[in-house]
């Protein structure tokens, strides 16, 4: 076994202290019929019984990885190919960050704790909210946690009054279908109902639909930019939700908040809870994970927030220091009555995002956001294909190909290009539509190459 330090002499002297003849004797409380059934062909690891050297393992993995390399990426839909400053992962990969546990021993974890406090501050600044948690798993499961939180908050507010739609949440228009799927699968077990308010012909949610609901829901969820990359009329939706007594939940891409209005400033009252996925903030796409989900909210709802929270306090000498706080919300204290079962979160990715946001600063993040929009505008201009929706888009947009999009995506892939997402599997009425995305990384030459390849594939298939 490659990572054991024990010499034979060590083993002998350790067994002597224990008073055992051999290691097998240490397993003498386990029923013998359960022991060692996994030998020979039934053994757990692949490949050689003896295991690979690091060199062999790296060669094996590199061969696999090489098979999946592609050309420029024009696929977004929740995972985005941004530039990551070199310093981000050089620092995040330091053993002191990467191999530390959850900071339960605060005095021995001030590095992680202060960093998370800085992260909470940065996310609060981006969203305009009062507080942020120290992460949940991802955007999809984070939407589920946010819905559960909104329902809890609604039940507290309506104590003693009839429940009505309090265990129902409405989705306004095009929210990421994979987020919605994850959320349904998670909150459904608590009898919470998710109703979909359809998007209109322009691809946007209709604010009037919110007040048209027969029973007001606990919350209205709106994604900005929405799944189609379009800018929703978030002010009107927020106001309509509040008018019918529902909370407004904003699902956002934090990168876009370098430029877009902070959810706290939506409408007259502002969003009540903000969630999203932090992948665009210095985290590689890496097949969709690990990234991190985040939830920000108002101070008044902080006790309903799931996940860890870091607070600043003082030590015995009166000096400032950091510690996990409000732990009475969490599973290790509150057990069956906790706000969530989450324990392990996505801390290392929060580390990367915090370093990323420090390096980008306000101007850098704004310019990344505006470059993403500008490159996507370039893509639209380079193509002779119509947009499916005419509402303003941010850095993704839906193109109408006039024929099934899935085979076009396959053709593009066979030429080593990720040409976008065929929408048919997610929206049956959009099977001839392609969702494309461009980030600040796409060059004029990438865009020309993409436009030629896409139009060529469309022409050949027509």
């Amino acid at each position: 076994m490659p990572f054991l330090p024990h010499t034979n002499a060590d083993v002998a002297s350790m067994l002597a202290v224990v008073g055992a003849a051999d290691i097998d004797e240490l397993f003498d409380e386990i029923p013998s019929n359960l022991l060692n059934t996994g030998r020979g062909n039934n053994a757990p690891a692949a490949g050689d019984a003896a295991g690979m050297s690091e060199m062999e393992m790296l060669r094996h993995m590199a061969e696999r990885a090489r098979a999946d390399e592609t050309g420029p990426c024009f696929l977004g839909a929740g995972a985005y190919d941004h530039h990551i400053p070199s310093a981000v992962w050089d620092i995040a990969s330091r053993g002191e960050f990467m191999t530390a546990y959850t900071p339960y021993q605060a005095e021995a974890s001030q590095g992680t704790l202060q960093l998370v406090y800085e992260f909470q501050t940065m996310m609060s600044e981006l969203t305009g909210m009062d507080v942020c948690n120290a992460s949940v798993y991802d955007g999809g499961s984070g939407l589920a946690e946010t819905i559960l939180m909104a329902v809890r908050a609604g039940e507290r507010r309506s104590k003693g009054r009839p429940a009505g739609g309090r265990r129902r949440v409405a989705l306004a228009g095009a929210v990421h279908p994979l987020y919605v799927a994850a959320a349904r699968n998670i909150v459904g077990h608590q009898g919470i109902d998710i109703v979909q308010l359809p998007y209109g012909e322009n691809g946007l949610a209709d604010p009037g639909r919110v007040t048209g609901l027969s029973e007001p829901p606990a919350a209205v969820v709106v994604q900005q930019p929405n799944f189609f990359g379009l800018l929703e009329n978030v002010d009107a939706i927020t106001d309509q939700a509040h008018e019918c007594g529902a909370l407004t939940v904003a699902c956002v891409n934090p990168m876009t908040l370098g430029l877009l209005k902070a959810p706290a400033n939506w409408g007259d009252g502002g969003a009540d809870i903000v969630c999203g996925d932090g992948q665009p903030l210095g985290i590689p796409m890496a097949s969709g994970g690990p990234s991190f989900g985040f939830i920000c909210t108002r101070q008044s709802l902080v006790r309903q927030l799931p996940g860890r929270i870091v607070g600043r306090t003082r030590d015995l000498d009166g000096n400032p220091g950091f510690t996990l706080t409000l732990q009475a919300r969490e599973q290790h204290i509150r057990r069956a009555k906790a706000t969530s079962n989450i324990c392990t979160n996505q801390g290392l990715l929060v580390t990367a995002a915090t370093i990323y946001l420090s390096l980008l600063g306000p101007e850098g993040l704004r310019n990344v956001a505006s470059a993403c929009h500008a490159r996507t505008r370039d893509v639209v201009a380079a193509l002779e294909l119509p947009r499916r929706f005419d509402a303003p888009y941010f850095h993704e947009c839906v193109l109408r190909l006039g024929q099934p999009a899935q085979p076009i995506v396959e053709t593009m892939a066979s030429r080593g290009m990720l040409g976008g997402l065929a929408l048919g599997p997610y929206f049956s009425d959009l099977s001839d539509c392609l969702l494309v995305c461009a980030t600040e990384k796409r060059t004029t030459s990438d865009i020309r190459q993409f436009a030629n390849a896409l139009q060529d594939a469309v022409r050949r298939a027509a």
């Binding site: 076994m1 330090p5 397993f27 003498d28 409380e29 029923p31 359960l34 996994g38 690891a45 019984a49 295991g51 690979m52 590199a62 990885a65 098979a67 999946d68 929740g78 400053p85 620092i91 053993g95 960050f97 530390a100 546990y101 005095e107 974890s109 001030q110 590095g111 992680t112 406090y117 940065m122 999809g140 994979l178 994850a182 077990h189 608590q190 430029l259 877009l260 209005k261 902070a262 590689p284 994970g289 690990p290 902080v302 607070g311 706080t325 009475a328 969490e330 290790h332 079962n341 324990c343 392990t344 801390g347 290392l348 990715l349 946001l357 390096l359 310019n367 500008a374 303003p392 892939a413």
Partner: protein
Amino acid sequence: METIFDLARAQRRAGAQVPAPESVEDLPKTALREHLPALPEVSELQAVRHYTRLSGLNYSIDTQFYPLGSCTMKYNPRGTHRAASTPGFLDRHPLAPVSVSQGFLACLHELQEILQRATGMGSVSLTPMAGAQGEFAGVAMIRSYHAARGDTGRNEILVPATAHGTNPATASMCGCIVREVAVGPDGDVEIEALKAAVGPATAGLMTTNPSTCGLFERRIEEIAAIVHDAGGLLYYDGANLNAVLGKVKPADMGFDVLHLNLHKTFATPHGGGGPGAGPVGAGELLAPYLPGPIVEKTAEGYRWTEPPHSIGRLSAFMGNAGILLRALAYALMLGSEGMQRVGEFATLNANYLAARLGQEGFDIAYPNRRACHEFIVTLAAQKRRFGVSAMDFAKRLLDYGVHAPTTYFPLLVPECFLIEPTETESKEEIDAFVDAMANVLAEAESNPELVKSAPHDLPAKRLDDVEAARRLDLRWQARKRSL
């Protein structure tokens, strides 16, 4: 230490990271923000130095012995990090077509098979993103199974009184009611209490084995029979699998479904809180309910598939892929022989450490039982005699340059330390920890105030948790610059 915001000055920037400005005149004004967010304005060197210095304030596996019980803080091989950081993996888009994903899918399929053989379960889904999400998947599968049979009255999940908090919290998230089953003085579940607890409302039992007391549940087969006879199913919480990896398979013990903590047993880093990965395995009965997507091998290559009665996806894509790749890289380096050594040497180290601490005068909570990969020391006597609590003891250990064991868990044992050295620690490191424990014990007797006011040599003195919760300060604000 100063925060990054204290270092910031208006208009300072890390210029190499700032793209050229672009016009966004075409976007509606109402959608845009009026002021830039108050992110830090620092130079690249300032950011690099600040976060490098912050890292130095942490204890970590790479820098300290970290015997945190139930957390399996073993060495995280650097090679696995490098393997997962290969560009083809890092740059792969989660929705990339299968035709350009065969390398990644082959890796996942290989890991599925390894985990199937390690646990004895016929099918594995890799998607849950942490142990608690794996637990959620398992309980949701049990619920779906009962519901599919029209057995709708089963909404109770049984857990031993020593269970980790995620077990009852998970049961609640799945809409179940939690019933605790008593644990006897020998650390095993009380069979009579279990018999009294099961019935027509029993959906299942969640438990670890070894238990959170670090003891192998000797009557696990009898427990399985009682739960199964009552119509319930058995969930294996893999938090403590490291104790028996390569030695005992959960399926052989009678479990129907399980999760593994790859960030424990398969050596992926804890990252200061995460990420983890909590793959779920199931036998024949529950395999159709596994969360998707799963990788399937066909004559035409690998592809994604959904189990027929899947509880569905629990995250947007397919879980913490990068962690799965690290776990695979680790398993490949272990080989089957190496994997069998994991449980053996984790157990050797724990038993050696327990024996040494016993010799130094510490009370082992279950002295007549064999320790598995971890064991409990109770400091109740020291609390009584010197007024020094387990928390004080833990804080003083930090001064000796070792991380403290898990404190006050399981709740059953007063003033307890749950101690897990893991297999990758050398005899010398373990001996040094024994010396530190012995020194603190001597100090507790001769100078209890020294221990009660610890730590003394860390970046912060003892922090005031009560103050933190009473006067919430959850974000930096400019007006607090003077603090």
